[in-house]
Every structure is written in structure tokens, then in C-alpha cells.
């Protein structure tokens, strides 16, 4: 383990966090919120001191060796550090008195889960509401990707940063858009910023600018923290439709947007994952809409509610316009299916990702064929190209790890003695970075009543879900920390 590089990365991540937190401080001053202002100032001081300490630790001879192990550990550690320090404003301002709650809330923000321990958000200081939503935006594309965007061209050893991109970006087979990693990261962030800005503009026509920014951050990162107690139910149909559209858009693989910019719409339309993502969204919205449509009711209203929820859960955002806890069983089933399925690889969304489910099915089919007819050669293809054995191998490992973590977390959650629906869906909602589940943790409920142990388990699940398991598991493995 290259501890020096690790400290240097942590120090840099902390510096970036400080820079990203400063707009919240300015808001606190502008809105005359003395407690939050003090909390932000204290937090910034702590972050800068920590960053300085890590820089001191990283001094000395710089080693170039930065491999898979370092990339994984780097991603895992920086996300935990982000969660711990990002929680400080809530805790120091006493708006969230228990540190574990503040930590839960912040990790939920950065991992774009949107699960909240607050029963009531409107009384929170505005600058804290802003910071809470902004963590979604930072976590959506990833803070390490942001760091990579700052890497100058031709830096020595910069090829190794590929391990970082892989560790933080979602999807089974992470690649670059252009040969240089710095430019790839810059293109991703530019698309992200442009789409977010468009969302803010469209939202601001029918809601206060502050709300428009916060909701857009939550949508862009596919997070799901709202700024009112009613979620998005209190806003106009226009706002709800715009948000439905953007939740869907942020769940699309960003390389599709890059191909559109390169004027290659045909390859985008042919993309198998995008087709699957769109079709699943369209059909589940339609079915749920028909199921919940009351006789003689307004069809637009039912369809709006149904499509909003479909986009929200599938993109793993977790906004809600209605209490779908009260919906019929079959719609709940569809929503749980969408929770696990998730968005596309290379998007800001969570879940297992459409491409993985597609590959799992194709892999299963080809293995079954081989069982029935030994000697038959059958390749797994995606977009017409054979998928390498390496990717499939990783996929199977991911699947086993996914099931194991889900089972163990569920077991630990049952200690709290809550009903099964609550326990299972709380675990699924956190592990897939969705936010709301059913039962006590439904769209109108919250996670506040869980014990400290359960909260820690759920924090682990959220981090494991956002980083796609391996970076977090790697932190628990002894081989990661060995000197070699």
C-alpha cells in the first residue's frame, strides 16, 4: 500500500470539499443564519487543518506505484472522509444534535441516496438545506472524477489514475471517452453542469430560485433530498413533469450524450442498454398508471404520479409526489424491482444498473446452452461486440457480493425489531441509493427511529452501493493494508 499517495489524495479531496463548501458559507451569511455561519467556519477550519496534516504525512519521496489496490482504497477512504467532514455543519450548528444522524444524513447525500433521518426539513437553516442538496450534486458525478478533471495533460504516472476512475464510476466496464483521463473527466463534468443548468432554468419558471437550485441538485445527482415536507407533491404539474424528464435523463449513460455531441445519434439509438432502460421505464410507468387509475379519475393525474414515481425510483433519485406506500401490492412489486434494477452504467444513478441485469441474463442463457449442449460455443455480446471473460467474471463476483451484503445487512437490521417490509426495503433503498422504501421508511416516513447499529449498517450499504461494493470491501481486507 502506497500510504504517501493515499494521504496526498485525501488531502486534495479535503481541499476540494472545502472549496465546494464555501458557497454554503456565503449563503449562511447572506440569509443571516449566525449558528450555521459559525458551524461552516469551524468546519472549514477543521477541514483545512486535516488537509494540512495529510499533506505533511504525504511529504517525502514520491512513489509512482499506484495500482488497483491503491485506486480502490483511495476511493473508499475519500468517501468516508467526505461523509465525516461533510456532516460537521449539521452537527456543529446543533440542527442535527446526534453526530451519527448527521453522518447518516451526509453519507445519504453524497451517495445520492436521499434517505433522511429528519422528520421535518422546513425548519432547517436554508444554507444547511442547500448544503444537503449540494452533496447530492457532488456525489452524483463523483468527487474523485472532479479531481481527475484537474489533472494536467501528460502528468507522469497519470495512467494509473484509470484505477480511480474505475473505482468511482458506476458500471461493469468503465472506459474513457477520449484518450486522456483529464479531458474525459472534464467532458463528463461539462455535460453534467450543462444538464443541471438547463434543469434549474426550466424549474425556475414555476418555483423560487432557491428551491429550483436544490431540486435540480437532487435531480442531477439522482439524490432525492427535497426542501419541503411534502416532497415534490406541493409543486405544480409542470414542475413534476420537468423533474420526471430530468430524473430519467440523469439516469442515462453520459457517454450517450457525448456521442450526441459528436453527432452520432445512430449509435445512441442502437445502444442496447438505453433501449432497455427506456422500455422498462415506459412500460412500468404505464402499468402502474393503469393500476392506480381510479374509475372516473383524471388520467393525466394518475399517469403523472405513476411516471414520476417510475423515473424517481428507477433513476434511484427517490423524490415522491404521492405516498406510494398506499398503492396496491403489484405497483409496490414493480417499484422494488426498479429499485434493484437501477439506472444505466456511467450515469449518476445507483442500483445494479440495467447493463448488469442484461449481461446477467445473457450470461445465464449462454451457460444454460452450454449445459444442454456441451461443446456449443456461445458468446455474450453487448451492442454486437463480445463481452470479455474478465468483465463477466467481475460481474459474477459483484452479484455474489451484492447478495451476501444484502442478506447480512438485512439480518443486522432485523435486530431493531421493525416489521419485515420496513427492514427489507430500508436495506434495499439504501443499498441501491434510492432513498424511500415502504412501511416506516416510505416516502412520507424517515430513518430517524433506527438504532445506531442499524444506521451504521445502512451507512455501509449506501457507501457500498454508490462505489459498487469493491472499494468499500477492499478497505476491510488485510491484503489492502499490507506493505509490499
Amino acid at each position: 500500500m502506497n500510504y504517501k499517495s493515499l494521504s496526498r489524495f485525501t488531502a486534495l479531496i479535503l481541499l476540494i470539499e472545502a472549496a465546494l463548501m464555501s458557497p454554503a458559507l456565503i449563503l449562511a451569511i447572506v440569509f443571516h443564519e449566525p449558528r450555521s455561519t459559525a458551524a461552516y467556519l469551524e468546519t472549514l477550519a477543521i477541514i483545512l487543518i486535516l488537509s494540512g496534516l495529510f499533506f505533511l504525512l504525504s511529504r517525502g519521496e514520491k512513489a509512482d506505484d499506484f495500482y488497483e489496490k491503491e485506486g480502490l482504497a483511495c476511493a473508499g477512504i475519500s468517501w468516508i472522509v467526505l461523509g465525516l467532514t461533510g456532516a460537521l455543519p449539521f452537527f456543529l450548528s446543533r440542527e442535527i444534535p446526534a453526530f451519527i444522524d448527521a453522518f447518516f444524513e451526509t453519507v445519504s447525500g453524497f451517495t445520492t441516496t436521499g434517505a433522511s433521518i429528519l422528520s421535518e426539513v422546513e425548519s432547517l437553516d436554508k444554507s444547511l438545506l442547500y448544503w444537503r442538496s449540494f452533496t447530492h450534486w457532488i456525489g452524483g458525478m463523483g468527487v474523485l472524477v472532479f479531481l481527475l478533471a484537474l489533472v494536467p495533460r501528460g502528468t507522469r504516472g497519470s495512467g494509473f489514475t484509470m484505477h480511480i476512475l474505475r473505482a468511482e464510476s458506476p458500471g461493469p466496464d468503465v472506459g474513457k471517452l477520449v484518450p486522456q483521463i483529464g479531458r474525459t473527466a472534464r467532458i463528463l463534468y461539462l455535460i453534467y453542469i450543462a444538464l443541471t443548468a438547463l434543469d434549474v432554468i426550466l424549474l425556475s419558471f414555476d418555483m423560487p430560485l432557491f428551491d429550483a437550485f436544490c431540486i435540480a441538485f437532487g435531480t442531477a445527482g439522482t439524490g432525492g433530498f427535497a426542501v419541503t415536507n411534502a416532497g415534490l407533491g406541493g409543486y405544480s404539474p409542470y414542475i413534476q413533469w420537468v423533474t420526471t424528464l430530468f430524473m430519467f435523463l440523469f439516469g442515462v449513460n453520459f457517454s450517450c450524450y457525448y456521442l450526441l455531441l459528436r453527432r452520432q445519434p445512430r449509435s445512441v439509438l442502437k445502444d442496447e442498454e438505453l433501449r432497455f432502460y427506456f422500455l422498462t421505464f415506459f412500460l412500468s410507468g404505464l402499468i402502474m398508471g393503469l393500476v392506480i387509475h381510479p374509475a372516473g379519475g383524471n388520467l393525466e393525474e394518475s399517469m403523472r404520479a405513476s411516471y414520476f414515481q417510475a423515473a424517481s425510483i428507477m433513476s434511484t433519485t427517490g423524490f415522491a409526489t404521492v405516498d406510494f406506500n398506499l398503492w396496491p401490492s403489484v405497483t409496490k412489486g414493480i417499484l422494488i424491482f426498479l429499485t434493484i434494477l437501477g439506472a444505466s452504467a456511467g450515469s449518476t444513478g445507483g442500483g445494479m444498473k440495467c447493463i448488469r441485469i442484461q449481461l446477467i441474463f445473457k450470461d445465464l442463457r449462454s451457460n444454460l446452452k452450454r449445459m444442454i449442449r456441451p461443446g456449443r460455443i456461445s458468446l455474450v455480446r453487448n451492442n454486437g461486440r463480445p463481452v470479455s471473460d474478465n468483465v463477466l467474471e467481475n460481474l459474477r463476483t459483484y452479484l455474489s457480493a451484492y447478495v451476501l451484503i444484502a442478506l447480512i445487512s438485512f439480518l443486522l437490521l432485523t435486530i431493531d425489531g421493525k416489521d419485515l417490509t420496513t427492514s427489507v426495503t430500508a436495506m434495499l433503498a439504501c443499498f441501491n441509493n434510492v432513498g424511500p422504501g415502504f412501511g416506516e421508511v416510505g416516502p412520507m416516513g424517515n430513518f430517524g427511529s433506527f438504532s445506531v447499529l442499524s444506521k451504521l449498517v445502512l451507512i455501509f450499504d449506501m457507501l457500498a452501493g454508490r462505489l459498487e461494493i469493491f472499494p468499500i470491501i477492499a478497505l476491510l481486507s488485510r491484503t489492502t493494508w499490507k506493505h509490499d
Partner: protein
């Protein structure tokens, strides 16, 4: 600049390393996914699996917008087809192609325009040419020319009985009776760019710039008695041996080639009627003795196996052959080990070839003439020597070097200035003016691309 490298063997990989460090957008094409995977995680480049001579793969690699294609797969025919196909996609693309089959070499220059090739590289011929230079001027381990051959950067090892052993650099001119400048000294595996108080020791390898016309004087004052090379033994009958034998024949040097492969020997015998070729196991000392290695003037180890070449050279050295030259394929990895051995001059076709390509790429990127005219790497890739033309944008013109030294980054040296047709070995009062050619020596990690990069 957008560069496509087709084929990532030894040369492809070494080009990837150097060009990625220069900050180019590089896409690699190869049929072996494991090699691509390794390079893509080591350098900031993108990999594409497939046949580089097909239009679809080249399209996917972005040939339509690329500035340069470097075709270095192991098959000449694929390299050529790759260039032709790329030209069809993008008429403005520059193409560098590696051709190593000697049967094509003579015709390829005539076909250059038909195929639209910008540069043809032949690593084996470059290596043969380099070896011939060394054999014609014995005494130095390596020789690099600058300023159209007027300045030379030469390498030699200081033996225990050398007059230079124990001399401090300040006193060097009085020993050699010529103005020379020691640019770099390799002691053990470490490289230093020495100052005036540096004391030379036996076992050091020194890199020295000197005017070309002074070379024979220097050798005489060093007490190196230079015989004219009359008889050379080449161990191994590959492509380099073929080219080298042809060149040495022309110089009137007697050549003997030994190879263990009968078919190859017969093929060489057909192509080189006047060269003596024998078939035998080169690892067997008695075979070399029978060929008269002890009385030969030079031995060149040229088999395809690095280990075998090392062993043969060590043996030749033990037989007191005056000049020993060793070919090495993977020079950087083994640098630490081989620099301690008495292998004589070490030649790496891969390094030569990638130097040629990198030089072309640098001159292409910058039409203002600010980038290096030539780039040579010495000391096993640890030291880089570049030649720059001073342009209007160059900083600190007409400043004496003694003042300039404060502004230059450490680890960088200007050993020679070429002004209006005459070479000056730089001293404290030397200065450069617009239009001059200047040589810059730097340790490799400084990444000097433009002349102004040398200033802190």
C-alpha cells in the same frame, strides 16, 4: 495532437511511454487485449482491440480526426495496408510506418509517395548504421551527432590506467589539450551532471561533448590506441547482421557471421556472396575460437536473445577483443544489471527507432521551430540530449551562460553552441543568439520539449 499507434510490441510500448509523457491524445490498436489492458492502466491512453488495417477499427480509433498514425505491428504488409486505409479515411493524416523486411527496403523509397508515407523507420537498419559508426571510430562506447555532424556526444568508460582517473573536471582541458565538456557521469547506476570540482574515478562512464574534428586528438591524448578495424565477427545472423555486413563490406572491413540456423546461414550466403558465413552453436566457445575471436578487431553480439548476447559479449571481452558491441532488446528493464557488466557498447534497436519517431512527432507538433530538432537518449535512457534552434521567442538571448545558470533548472546543461558554422564548447562567457543551434543535456525526468522549458 491526436496519435494512433497500431501495434504495441516493444517499439509501440516504448513510443506510448514517451508520447504520453509529451501530453498527446493516444489511441492504441492491437489484437491482444491483455497487452492493451496493461498499457492502458500504465499510461494515460486509450486502447482498441482489433485489426488495425480494417476501415472499421481505424474509424473507431478516430483516424478521421487523427494527426498521425504510427504503424508498428510485426508485419510489414499490415503496416502498409494500415497506412493506406487510414489515408483513405483522412487524406491529411501523417503516417509513420515500420518496414523491416530487407526485400522491401530498396523498393519502399520509390513507393513512398504511392502509399503516402511520411516517414519509414527500419529499426534493424538504424541499429546497423549506428554500429557501423562505432566501428569506424573505435574508442567510444556510443556516439551521437548534433548540428549536422559537427558536434559529437561520445561515451567512454574510464579504466584504472586511464590518464583521466582521479582528475577533477577543472583540470580536464590541460590533460586532453582540447576544449571539451563532460555532460554526464554514470557511476554505478546513478547519473550526475557534474560541476567543476567533480573528480573522475576508474569505472565511471562519462558522456562528453566535443567538436567532431577533435575526436581523434582526444583519443590520442587519452592514450587509447586506435587500430583501424579490419576484421569483425557478428554473432547471430538476423536482419541487423545482414544490413551491417553490407555496410562493412562497403567500408572494406572483413566480416564473419556465425549463426546456428542452417537455413538462415544459407539464405545469408545467397544474399551476401563475399561474406564468410559459418553455421555453428555460438554458445560453444570452441566455435568462436575456431572463427578466431581472439585475433579479431571487433565482436558484435546480435542474436535475438538478450541473455545470449550478454554471455557472448562477456566471453569476447575475456578474450581481449578490443571492441565489443552488444545488442539489447529490452534495455530499460535490465539497465541496472547490465551497466555493471563489461559489455562494451550497448545498442538498442527499439530505443533508436522510438527516438527517430519521437523526433519526427516533436518537429511535427511545432512548426514554429521551438521544439527540439533532434532528441537522443543516452545512458540507458537516463539522460536526454536535445538540439534546439534559437527562435525569436526564446528567452534570455545574448546573456552570458554564467548569469543564465541561475535561471536554469538544476539538472540541465548547455554544453555546446553552434554559431554561424562554428562550434563553441560552452564556457561561462558563451552566449546564444537568434539562429544559433544549441544543445541541451538534461536528466530524463525534466521533460524538456521546448527550449524555454529549461528555465525555472
Amino acid at each position: 495532437m491526436k496519435i494512433i499507434i497500431a501495434g504495441v510490441g516493444k517499439v509501440g510500448a516504448s513510443l506510448t511511454a514517451e508520447l504520453a509523457a509529451d501530453g498527446h491524445d493516444i489511441t492504441l490498436i492491437d489484437t491482444r487485449s491483455d497487452v492493451l489492458e496493461r498499457l492502458c492502466t500504465q499510461y494515460d491512453v486509450m486502447g482498441l482491440e482489433g485489426n488495425c488495417a480494417t476501415m472499421q477499427v481505424l474509424k473507431d480509433a478516430g483516424a478521421a480526426e487523427a494527426d498521425l498514425l504510427i504503424a508498428v505491428t510485426n508485419a510489414d504488409e499490415i503496416n502498409l495496408l494500415c497506412c493506406v486505409t487510414a489515408h483513405q479515411l483522412n487524406p491529411r493524416i501523417h503516417t509513420i510506418v515500420r518496414i523491416r523486411n530487407s526485400e522491401y527496403t530498396s523498393q519502399i523509397m520509390e513507393l513512398r509517395d504511392v502509399f503516402g508515407l511520411s516517414l519509414i523507420v527500419n529499426p534493424e537498419r538504424s541499429a546497423a548504421w549506428e554500429i557501423e559508426r562505432l566501428l569506424r571510430y573505435p574508442g567510444f562506447l556510443t556516439r551521437e551527432s548534433f548540428a549536422k555532424g559537427q558536434v559529437e556526444l561520445v561515451e567512454f568508460r574510464i579504466d584504472a590506467d586511464s590518464p583521466l582517473s582521479g582528475v577533477t573536471l577543472k583540470n580536464l582541458p590541460s590533460v586532453l589539450k582540447t576544449r571539451v565538456l563532460i555532460c554526464a557521469v554514470m557511476r554505478g547506476n546513478g547519473i550526475t551532471l557534474p560541476g567543476g570540482d567533480f573528480e573522475l574515478q576508474a569505472g565511471d562512464r562519462i558522456y562528453m561533448t566535443a567538436p567532431a574534428r577533435e575526436l581523434s586528438n582526444i583519443l590520442r591524448n587519452l592514450g587509447v590506441i586506435t587500430h583501424r578495424v579490419k576484421r569483425v565477427i557478428l554473432g547471430g545472423g538476423g536482419r541487423i547482421s545482414f544490413y551491417l555486413a553490407q555496410m562493412l563490406e562497403r567500408d572494406g572491413i572483413q566480416v564473419q557471421i556465425i549463426d546456428q540456423d542452417r537455413a538462415r546461414c544459407e539464405d545469408l550466403a545467397r544474399k551476401l556472396p563475399t561474406v564468410s558465413i559459418s553455421c555453428g552453436d555460438i554458445t560453444d566457445p570452441s566455435v568462436l575460437e575456431r572463427e578466431g575471436i581472439a585475433s579479431s578487431d571487433a565482436f558484435v553480439a546480435l542474436t535475438g536473445l538478450d541473455e545470449l548476447n550478454i554471455v557472448m559479449s562477456l566471453y569476447a571481452n575475456s578474450q581481449k577483443v578490443p571492441i565489443v558491441i552488444t545488442k539489447q532488446g529490452r534495455i530499460e528493464e535490465l539497465q541496472d544489471i547490465i551497466s555493471g557488466l563489461s559489455l562494451g557498447s550497448v545498442i538498442s534497436p527499439k530505443q533508436l527507432c522510438s527516438d527517430i519517431v519521437v523526433r519526427y512527432v516533436r518537429s511535427m507538433r511545432d512548426t514554429t521551430g521551438e521544439t527540439a530538432l533532434t532528441v537522443q537518449t543516452v545512458a540507458g535512457g537516463q539522460v536526454q540530449a536535445c538540439e534546439f534552434v534559437i527562435g525569436p521567442g526564446t528567452l534570455h538571448k545574448d546573456t552570458p551562460l554564467i548569469e543564465l545558470n541561475k535561471k536554469i533548472k538544476p539538472g540541465i546543461l548547455i554544453p555546446a553552441i553552434f554559431h554561424e558554422g562554428t562550434v563553441t564548447i560552452a564556457g561561462g562567457s558563451s552566449r546564444y543568439q537568434e539562429g544559433d543551434t544549441v544543445i541541451v543535456i538534461s536528466t530524463i525526468n525534466k521533460n524538456i520539449v521546448r527550449f524555454n522549458d529549461i528555465f525555472a
